[in-house]
């Protein structure tokens, strides 16, 4: 894992990067690539598209929480703001407000504003320590929700924007199920790899150092506050990408997109999946989307009202927090460990 580590085998004959990727990555990668061949449009667009998008937003929280030790509830707000900005600078059905600028200006501008907002949020949140972060970011999320709901000049108030569509690039309709699947998959993979890579780069290492022992990091010359704020800025890039994709998926953005409920949902996703590794964000998102899509039918089938979905999510969340603080990833690790203790197999829990 370690950056500076050098195992003797690699020194002798450097492995090419292809050989260093574990086998299961190839398997999952191949499955995801050929998915559109056999999966229905609904599965591609609703299940996987949504999973990847929520996964990206939860990933931004995982980066802050897992590597930085800062649990921010404002990541959905950053995502929502990016969505709003795309609607305002680009095209939407609300022609009185939308500026209809070309996508290559609107999208970077939207991301830049989201990053600015995320950085400011971080700057406010890191002024106090640890557990206060969750309170402050929740309050900021709520403020954003109420503000956009009441502001009609820029944010079109209660109804927000509809008809926000992805640009017609290369003559492809990017909201078509297959195209949208690949679009979201592409960005999910990019974001996932970026987080994985940065976690072992100096910035990511230092962030984890600040999480574990801020005082020690200061004594090594690091400015802990600056590192934390920078982490918020990077997380805002991820959340912004997720927010733009989310807006395109539903073709609309409204105050409800970035309300308190969705803000909490992102936390639920990240915690259910597990905050120790970036893949947890996507596992959590997948579980959440499956539940949200099928729980209604399942609940009705067992004789309960479909609205009890929230109860299910809440109880599931409680169970995870109670028994496996590292989420589903933690359960997985424990299972492997218990398997590894099998005396007949006689091998450690370490996988390939």
């Amino acid at each position: 894992m370690a950056v500076t580590e050098r195992d003797p085998a690699r020194d002798a004959r450097p492995l090419s990067w292809i050989e260093r990727i574990p086998g299961r990555y190839w398997l999952i990668g191949a499955a995801l690539l050929v998915m559109p061949v056999f999966a229905s449009d609904f599965v591609l667009f609703q299940i996987f598209g949504w999973t990847f998008i929520l996964g990206i937003i939860a990933l931004s929280l995982m980066f802050l929480g897992g590597y930085g030790g800062m649990v921010s509830l404002a990541q959905m707000t950053v995502a929502g703001l990016a969505g709003y900005m795309v609607a305002i600078f680009g095209e939407s059905a609300i022609s009185a407000i939308s500026l209809n600028w070309p996508w290559y200006i609107a999208i970077p501008l939207a991301l830049a504003i989201a990053v600015l907002f995320g950085t400011l949020t971080g700057w406010l949140a890191v002024r106090t320590d640890g557990i206060y972060t969750i309170m402050i970011t929740l309050a900021i999320a709520a403020a954003f929700f109420y503000f956009v709901r009441q502001n009609y000049v820029m944010f079109n108030g209660f109804s927000g924007f509809n008809g926000v569509l992805p640009p017609d690039l290369f003559g492809v309709d990017w909201r078509g199920p297959k195209a949208f699947y690949y679009l979201t998959l592409f960005w999910a993979v990019i974001c996932y790899l970026a987080v994985l890579y940065i976690s072992r780069a100096p910035f990511g290492l230092a962030l984890q150092g600040v999480r574990d022992n801020q005082r020690r990091m200061s004594a090594l010359g690091y400015n802990a506050t600056a590192h934390r704020v920078a982490a918020y800025a990077f997380a805002a890039v991820l959340a912004g990408i997720g927010g733009i994709l989310l807006t395109w998926q539903s073709a609309q953005v409204s105050p409800g997109t970035a309300g308190i409920g969705p803000a909490i949902d992102v936390l639920v996703i990240a915690v259910i999946g597990g905050m120790r590794h970036p893949v947890g964000a996507f596992i959590g998102a997948f579980v959440y989307v499956i539940l949200k899509t099928f729980a209604l039918d399942a609940l009705v089938a067992v004789g309960l009202a479909g609205e009890r979905f929230q109860l299910l999510i809440g109880l599931g969340f409680l169970v995870i927090v109670f028994w496996s603080p590292d989420g589903i990833l933690g359960l997985w690790d424990r299972w492997r460990e218990s398997r590894g203790k099998d005396p007949l197999l006689d091998r450690g829990g370490e996988g390939p």
């Binding site: 309050a139 503000f147 936390l267 969340f317 927090v321």
Partner: protein
């Protein structure tokens, strides 16, 4: 107070001048130019009174929150749910028995008991894990919100105060003068004044409890330095349970008050959770005086905001919060 004046002579002067202006605005008969500028005095006085009484309600909710936070470092994000539960229980009690006053002790005891269960079965099992405790409270609030929706549905409930409290009350505040020279006095709902007085009594009571009793000293010592509390050999678990029960009970009582002032419905839990968060951030975490000051500021900001700049009333509240965070991150009355 004296120390503050010595350290910040300029700000003391500003506060003094503002207080004088406010007093004048409350007691004087407004000249025409002022009415032209910001509207009628009656509107102003009403906003002021509503702000103060709303502040009283916020104080009831937030003081429990801040006490629990200060002592146990537990950001109880289910606090709003406790408020809502108290409101529903109070409604049922008042509805079934017909006694409005009975709603208060019933809510206090039941919600307080629920708080005890939470403390013993949930928080004690993950002591010292701040983040995990907070996550659990989120889960609890999601579950509670849905259970309450299941039981009581999405309707608005209003707890009606008894006859002798429901009318308006004449006050000695002058709102203006008729052309005949006769003075017009302000009328204000009796129940709001009574409830505000009650929350002042609760506040003063808490202050006395914390500052004049042994258990209060223990709690304050625990807020300042939690290691010390366990070092004194105090039965710390008992103190934790008591404080959690009391804080939860207060939220329950506040629910009854809120149900009488306004109404209770799904979503009010989040609203009052946020109000508590903002009040505590502005006032200073773990400080009862801070909660009182913060509640007053936020209550006033909301009411004056909704009268004088209706579109951005809520945003005003959060602007205050951001300003406090930027310049005094520990809160107005908080310590470093």
């Amino acid at each position: 107070m004296r120390a503050f004046a010595d350290r910040h002579p300029f700000w003391s002067l500003v506060i003094l001048v503002l207080a004088a202006v406010l007093l004048w605005m409350i007691f004087a008969i407004w000249p025409d130019w002022l009415e032209d500028l910001i509207g009628r005095k009656k509107v102003f006085l009403n906003a002021l009174f509503n702000g103060i009484t709303l502040g009283g309600l916020y104080f009831l909710v937030a003081s429990g929150f801040t006490l629990i936070f200060g002592l146990m470092r537990n950001v109880n994000l289910a606090h709003g749910s406790l408020y809502l539960l108290g409101g529903y229980l109070g409604y049922v009690t008042a509805d079934v028995t017909g006694y409005w006053l009975l709603a208060f002790p019933v809510s206090f005891i039941l919600v307080g008991a629920f708080g005890i269960l939470l403390q013993i079965f949930v928080f004690r099992r993950m002591e010292g894990q701040d983040l995990r405790q907070t996550l659990v409270t989120i889960g609890i609030s999601i579950v509670m919100a849905d259970l309450m929706l299941w039981i009581w549905g999405g309707d608005f409930y209003n707890i009606s105060p008894p006859e002798w409290l429901s009318g308006p009350m004449s006050t000695f505040f002058v709102t203006g003068a008729k052309s005949s020279g006769e003075l017009v006095y302000m009328k204000y709902p009796m129940v709001r004044i009574v409830i505000f007085a009650a929350s002042v009594v609760v506040g003063v009571g808490m202050w006395l409890l914390l500052n004049r009793t042994r258990i209060g000293m223990l709690i304050r010592a625990g807020v300042d330095d939690r290691d010390m509390l366990s070092a004194t050999g105090a039965r710390i678990q008992l103190v934790f349970v008591a404080v959690f029960a009391f804080g939860a009970g207060l939220a329950g009582v506040a629910g009854v008050v809120g149900g009488t002032f306004q109404s209770i419905a799904p979503g009010e839990d989040v609203r009052f959770l946020l109000a508590s968060l903002v009040v505590v951030i502005v006032g200073g975490m773990g400080s009862i005086q801070g909660a009182a000051l913060g509640a007053l500021i936020i209550g006033m900001a909301e009411q004056f905001g909704s009268v004088y700049f209706p579109t951005y009333a809520v945003v005003l509240t959060f602007l205050i919060m951001v300003a406090v965070l930027a310049f005094r991150p520990q809160g107005l009355m908080g310590r470093n």
